[in-house]
Symmetry: none
Subunit: 399 residues, 2 copies
């Protein structure tokens, strides 16, 4: 698709807003019941569903439940099976670390070794964050010639390291043996381009163990999910869009940054996000607005709370529409039904409003109603081309 | 998709049943009328349609009418455009011949040659099976050093041979010139790996003509559809499922065996198939149940008979549901509308029932009703990932 959008892209003054309610799709609490979205009182989205065109977004492929990475890449129009984000890179992104070209990011676990060097606890007793964060910061003392080493605490036994320097590849095996009673594995390159990475990793682990020698629980570490900075082409390149993200959580800022969006403001609430949108309205063509709490309440299995959070999303819609976007989209990166307390594979209710969208018979915004929508069921990666088309930003293909 | 299902597969104790009514989809007898399935009295499937989620399965791609091979491979989740089954291999499979790795299977026709060695009848006067079967068996006398030669009668002028031995490739051109008044073509390898196959074939034909020299009609043979054993990965590999097939006809047992399913029982009726299912319920994760007669009555152009056979399918459903499958699917490998007396390209009504399937507004099981179903229209190859997801057998993709 990007070959097409690169070739056909047209510049104009249109504005596109994509409002992503994370984990928007849901399930009824009992057979024949209503989903979270269908239960929520959403007069603004319902009115837009009448006016616009609806459908069901399949995040990756039928049956596949995506994480946040592939879920958002799909919405951004990047085939999530083609653009893979390594676990280390995603973890770094999630804590707001700005990866540079050539960086190698690695997820690490503190672990416990016995006197013989065998692992007795792969998670160092799930050491609490208050204890593990200072230890991660202590590991910044590791010094490796020619390599910048960044160490960032994450949570409990988890932290992230990033190696920056010449000639580092991202092809290195995990050192976690996934078992106790054996020592951590030695860092091994899985491709010759990563020989130096393995050497650097070995030296890091050696010095880390020295620095942690006096610890009871967290006296060593294992390395996992070694990965380079993902390198998708930018929104400017593939769509010709000056794009901006208005998000609260570092993960979503990071994902937006990966595709070249500017990160706007320091908003902590949806109201503040709306203010940031209004302030920056003239400066960008495309705005990605991320709302986390429809997902987190779903993850908590809290149907009622997800209903409430969905209503908060609805309440912010008039402020967006008052700005007069040429294309307004409301969708989610995946479903997070409270009934499942987790991400699921179900298609995500999706709404697109634009002057020439060709409306359908949907009377409100919800899972069942979207089944009769004019967008049908479609893979998420096609949403951006639809947005561009509705914004008059795609020329005719062929003569 | 198999790369994903291999990576994401999760083991649990769930049970999946896929009930395939061959050729299930149909057409009304006159515009505005009902299809065979819509005409049939199917209270059990209708109740499940209310409870589950429906849609239309596109066997291969829109507009493509598949044979049994690609139709079933699609349902089994194997891209039918990627996994091709050669005609010789399908014919051998269809008569229950168990192909081994390295075998080469060939469809053969008895034909009639005149005194000059030119073909006068490409099908030996469509010689009846009672006469052709003993001739095929006589050809088992052919002896080729280092090669095991299997000859199996099929029907009328058709029989199958299988060569087993070292170094046999499946790349050999047909010897049927598709014309009379000319001699059969000499066996020719189309790739160097099949030089030996062509030599063996030439020797087979030479000896066969000697053995058939006293025959008036069937005094020679032509070779077509040369093909190796297809080698799709197994259900165990790609899905982590212990899978079993309960079928009556050799073709469907053969197709199931190709993807590593165990073939259970010797059932001749749907009732007996249900008994086999019940007996083996604890031993497998996945059951493929095949019912042939919705297709054969469709092929016969007998609308009423197909309606009756569809009702037989419905009647067996309570015995399946009594076992409490976690995921129950009813579909077909393609449509066989009685109005067309043959396979067609129309999407096949499909029903999936599972606890978290997210139901839709379908009130009964039929072509028109499935159009508003929550599965939408989907390629058959996505049915298995959906089944796995609904069975809780797929982990999240990406973080």
């Amino acid at each position: 698709m990007h070959k097409l959008t690169r070739q056909l892209q047209v510049k104009n003054n249109s504005k596109i807003v994509m409002l992503v309610a994370d984990g928007l799709g849901g399930l009824p609490q009992q057979p024949g019941g209503l989903t979270e979205l269908e239960t929520a009182n959403t007069p603004n989205l319902d009115a837009l569903a009448k006016q616009g065109v609806c459908g069901g977004s399949i995040p990756v492929k039928p049956g596949i439940s995506p994480g946040s990475g592939p879920g958002h890449l799909g919405l951004f129009g990047y085939d999530p099976l083609e653009y893979l984000i390594g676990r280390g890179a995603l973890e770094a992104t999630g804590i707001g670390f700005e990866l540079q070209e050539g960086d190698v990011a690695i997820r690490c676990n503190f672990c416990t070794l016995d006197a013989d060097g065998n692992i007795t606890d792969r998670r160092a007793g799930r050491i609490p964050s208050e204890q593990s964060a200072p230890l991660a910061i202590k590991l910044r003392e590791v010094s490796i010639p020619g390599i910048q080493v960044f160490v960032e605490p994450v949570k409990e036994h988890r932290f992230v390291i990033v190696f920056r320097g010449e000639g580092l590849g991202g092809n290195m095996a995990d050192t976690d043996p996934q078992a106790t009673g054996v020592p951590p594995l030695k860092p091994q390159a899985t491709h010759p381009d990563s020989q130096k990475t393995a050497e650097v990793a070995e030296e890091f682990v050696r010095q880390a163990c020295e620095l942690l020698a006096d610890q009871q629980a967290a006296n060593a570490c294992t390395l996992r999910g070694v990965s380079p900075k993902p390198n998708p082409p930018s929104y400017e390149e593939v769509y010709g869009l000056r794009a901006a993200a208005i998000a609260v959580y570092p993960m979503y800022k990071g994902l937006a940054r990966l595709v070249g969006m500017d990160i706007l403001g320091e908003a902590q609430t949806l109201d503040q996000q709306m203010a940031v949108l209004e302030e920056n309205w003239d400066k960008y063509d495309f705005f990605f607005i991320h709302f986390k709490y429809t997902d987190s309440t779903g993850e908590d299995g809290n149907f009622e709370a997800k209903v409430k959070k969905t209503e908060e999303v609805d309440a912010c819609v008039p402020r967006i529409m008052a700005l007069g976007p040429d294309v307004f989209i409301c969708t989610g990166d995946h479903s997070t039904p409270a009934m499942l307390s987790g991400h699921s594979w179900h298609p995500v209710p999706t709404l697109l409003v634009a002057k020439h969208c060709r409306t359908d018979r949907c009377e409100s915004f919800g899972e069942a109603e979207c089944l009769q929508g004019g967008l049908g069921q479609f893979e998420a990666k096609y949403l951006m081309p639809l947005a561009l088309a509705n914004a008059g930003r795609l020329a005719k293909f062929g003569a």
